[in-house]
């Protein structure tokens, strides 16, 4: 084992033992890159210096989690997925008097707002509650604000239209200077809060769970745990939507989900899920 790998293991132990953040189930190659990046950004000289700060500097853990987390997101990323949610999933959700949606790993919240727009256009928003979670507090703060760089808006507008948008994307934000501010009404029924997929439990009964581009950072065991959480949270027949390049088939719980649209990574919880209560 080379010295850097040993240092990374020590760093992971320090984060876990001192702060309860457990990164031991993360895919090693990308974790390593992000640890190296933390060293550069904070100028700690090496991973040893990083460990010192994690152990001895109280406020530093927030910055460390922020650096290790990858809150990169877009509105309507993979528009065909949002189109399918609109066409195939929301009509089924419409049969429930009350809809709960869990968006896990919401990052800066772009997907939460995308979903809120879909729900509003399909007349479902009023009876929906969206639980948007992440383990990165700094990202959650950005998500709650709903303010983004204006230069992204053009791409997002295209995504919105490809996702079957019924209006103009600009109806949903106000532009000021270099920023757009999404309509605060879109988060009326959204609750943002900290939830760690490695350590925390199920907290709601959901008809739809979106967790996109989070599992790619986890190893098989942690993917299994996370998918297990989703199974336990979904009502029978509830929907799970993963990122476009994520594969459920390597997971132990794969058999408990049926594919609704394999290419778009939309699945439905099978018979062992919670009985539904429409």
């Amino acid at each position: 084992m080379d010295v850097e790998d040993i240092e990374i293991e020590l760093f992971v132990s320090a984060m876990r033992l001192r702060h309860g953040y457990d990164f031991s189930g993360y895919a090693p190659a990308s974790l390593k890159r992000r640890v190296q990046q933390l060293v550069r950004v904070h100028g700690t000289g090496g991973i040893g210096g990083l460990i010192q700060r994690v152990l001895h500097e109280d406020g530093f853990v927030t910055a460390a989690v922020e650096g290790l987390s990858v809150p990169v997101s877009e509105m309507f990323r993979d528009p065909s997925v949002f189109r399918a949610l609109r066409d195939k999933v929301l009509p089924v959700l419409a049969s429930y008097p009350q809809v709960n949606i869990w968006q896990a790993g919401c990052a800066h919240g772009q997907e939460v707002y995308s979903l809120a727009i879909l729900l509003q256009e399909e007349g479902l928003y009023e009876r929906t509650r969206i639980y948007a979670t992440d383990f990165n507090d700094a990202a959650l703060a950005v998500a709650t604000e709903g303010i983004y760089p204006a230069r992204d808006a053009r791409d997002w507008s295209r995504g919105y239209l490809e996702a079957g948008g019924r209006q103009s994307f600009s109806d949903y934000y106000s532009a000021r200077y270099e920023f757009i501010r999404l309509d605060p009404g879109l988060r009326r029924n959204v609750t943002f809060f900290n939830h760690n997929l490695v350590t925390d439990k199920v907290f709601c009964e959901a008809q739809l769970i979106l967790c996109r581009n989070v599992l790619i950072y986890f190893d098989n065991a942690l993917q299994d745990r996370t998918l297990g959480l989703f199974r336990d949270s979904l009502v029978r027949g509830g929907f799970l939507c993963l990122g476009s390049r994520e594969n459920i088939e390597f997971s132990a719980v794969a058999a408990e989900f049926a594919s609704v649209d394999g290419a778009l990574r939309i699945y439905r919880a099978g018979s062992s899920a919670r009985p539904s209560t429409p």
Partner: protein, 189 residues
Amino acid sequence: MIRRSAIVMGCSAGGITALQRVLPGLDRRLPAPVVVCCHTGSANVSLLVELIGQVSSLPVIEARERARVEPGTVHVAPSGYHLLVEEDLHFSLSVDAKVSFARPSIDVLFETAADAWRERVVGVLMTGANGDGAHGLASIRRNGGYAVVQDPDEAEAKAMPLAGLRIAGADVCLPLDAIAITLNELCLP
């Protein structure tokens, strides 16, 4: 001579044509996996897989997260995701920020391949209009791996091979048509 057991390739502008010239020349019995990162700019990698699959002597597939790196197979990085090789020789993906304006980034692939295969990997940097891959190629060389750079004079876009030569240097600098022959020599038993 060290027998090399894996090949990673990076290219950008002009890359599809370059791959169509190199891949047919690889020996069908090649035991090494070939991992390709090509910035195509298109939203869907399946077209690239099809285009180079038609002419390649080895099977060409999209690299999938958590899948094993298969010998004698060309794996292509999906668009929109960085492709990483884990030390247990599985792939992982990430949507981390772009590196040198690119995702997938050749640097990310090459640096992780350098960690995973050390002196057993050959890095091949070909035509492209940016500097992605140069630092990755340097990591490969630092770990004892072998570096092939396409001769900039005949590259459709010279910037990438030039950056590679400047930052990493190379074990050989070759015209496209000689690359496959060299890879066969380096990797065949």
